[in-house]
């Protein structure tokens, strides 16, 4: 248990020291990463990119039915 705790603490310290001693360019890159991830997950994913099938249907059965309709009925109705 003590060994495991030590290992985790060493890993934590390794990352902490790494981030603390990061040069200016590294901080800039991390800023870009955080802004990018925020835009991707907190803006684009939530407001613009819902999973259409998950959002519109409650079960896999309904999703399958919908796609079957798209595959076989939608094109026919366009004839």
């Amino acid at each position: 248990m003590g060994l495991l705790k030590n290992t985790f603490y060493n890993i934590f310290r390794f990352y902490r020291n790494g981030f603390l001693s990061m040069p200016a360019w590294g901080r800039k890159v991390w800023l870009v990463i955080l802004i990018k991830l925020f835009i991707m997950f907190a803006v684009l994913r939530i407001f613009f990119f819902p999973d259409i099938l998950k959002k519109n249907f409650d079960s896999d059965r309904e999703r399958g039915e919908h796609v079957l309709n798209e595959l076989i009925i939608k094109p026919d109705t366009d004839d």
Partner: protein
Amino acid sequence: MIENIDLSLVDWSRGQFALTAIYHWLFVPLTLGLSLILVIMETKYVRTGSEKWKKTTKFWMKLFGINFAIGVSTGLILEFEFGTNWSNYSWFVGDIFGAPLAVEGIMAFFLESTFVAVMFFGWDKVSKRFHLASTWLVAIGANLSALWILVANAWMENPVGMVFNPDTARNEMQSFWQVLFNPVAMDKFFHTITSGFVLASFFVTGISAWFLIRNREKEMAVKSIKVAAIFGTFGSLVLIFTGDTSARTLAQVQPVKFAAMEALYEGQTDAGLTAFGILTGKDGADEDGLDEKDIIASIEIPGLLSIMTNGERDSYVAGIKDLVYGNEERGIIPVSEKIERGRLARQTLIDYREAQEMGNEAVANELGKKFGSNDFQEEYFRYFGYSYINRPADVVPDVPLIFYSFHLMVALGFLFLLLQILAWFYTARGSMENKKIFQWILLLSIPLPYLASVLGWLVTEMGRQPWIIQDLMPVGIAVSSISTSAVQTTFWLFAALFTALLIAEVSIMTRQIKIGPKIEEE
């Protein structure tokens, strides 16, 4: 039928996917190749103990880090698009697409993320050998990540190892190994990663040439050029070899794309390879919509296309007309026949569904069994996508686009080999520092492998049209029923986001390059 689908929605969705994929791909290949160049440089440091090699490695690692950090997770946007814009496709491919992507996610996370931290934070905290092992693992992890993505992409080109379930409307994986060792996947993997190796070698030689032009860090620059040139030369050779094997596989599994790459309309024995040519209109589109092109001013290597395709000069290479209208003598089925078979498969699906809805279990069971039989899958369901095709010529992609993209990519591939051999030669002879014109050529060549890489993807993806999954699903059927304006909005949002990321990468990187490794100052 297919014309009645909202083409502006399809086109905008395609445009959006292309935009995000191309931007994502600007970051990826440098990671693939530069990680291995770092491995070579750091191995030199560990073996020699030279501080100069350590600083050289750290300099290139810094540029690798900037590219890696800014590029990482840009590919996730493609996954968002699958769920929103391509929901029919996402459902239809089932776990076949999901499984390789999940393996990729786990591998990328555990291998790359963990050991990238050791690469950057661990220089003075772990032993030399452990650090080198971490650099190796990052390189292996990055390249293996590419394998899983390319396996998924290859399945779209050559769907294998699955069976369609008519109850769930999904393709279910029957053999993971067939999906993994799909011949298209193997060719694609080696061709793609070696294109990344060549791109990275030009990145290193180009930036090193800039240092030589500026009379700075000359020792580091020449050493870096030597490593990158040797790496790039072997990379180029494998790239050309895998390009050849890829084309041979394509001739079997995507013959229309292959014929379009050569603008080969009439099938031939002793078919020549067009090294250069200009396409012109012939007689306009025929009554079936096939718009044949002539090649003028061509430089042709006699018999080479037959040899490359089948290993024999007198072998037959199918042309676009054979593939569209059929060639009984050569055993090529016409598209009209494939349309009939596809419609029969779709009608069977409709009948199965109706029988289920009406509670006619006997008929439903009988029809359901068909989907489980190899004969039905091989003879009919494999042409399912043709049921949406109106005219046989609709299965022909944009030939001029494919022809020019392919030929320009190949020409650039040979140019890369020549330039890397020259760079190796000049560094081996010790004359690189004096070759000012050549240094400028190396510097100005940095964008060329990016261009070649994008051209390669254009051939791959546009050459497959109208299919999103070869023969099974056309692009128009794959798209979700969402509003075109929503896709237009996100298209421009992505364009802005990725352009900002690219500007950030270029500006941070340029600044770090200008600072340089500062080896000479010590």
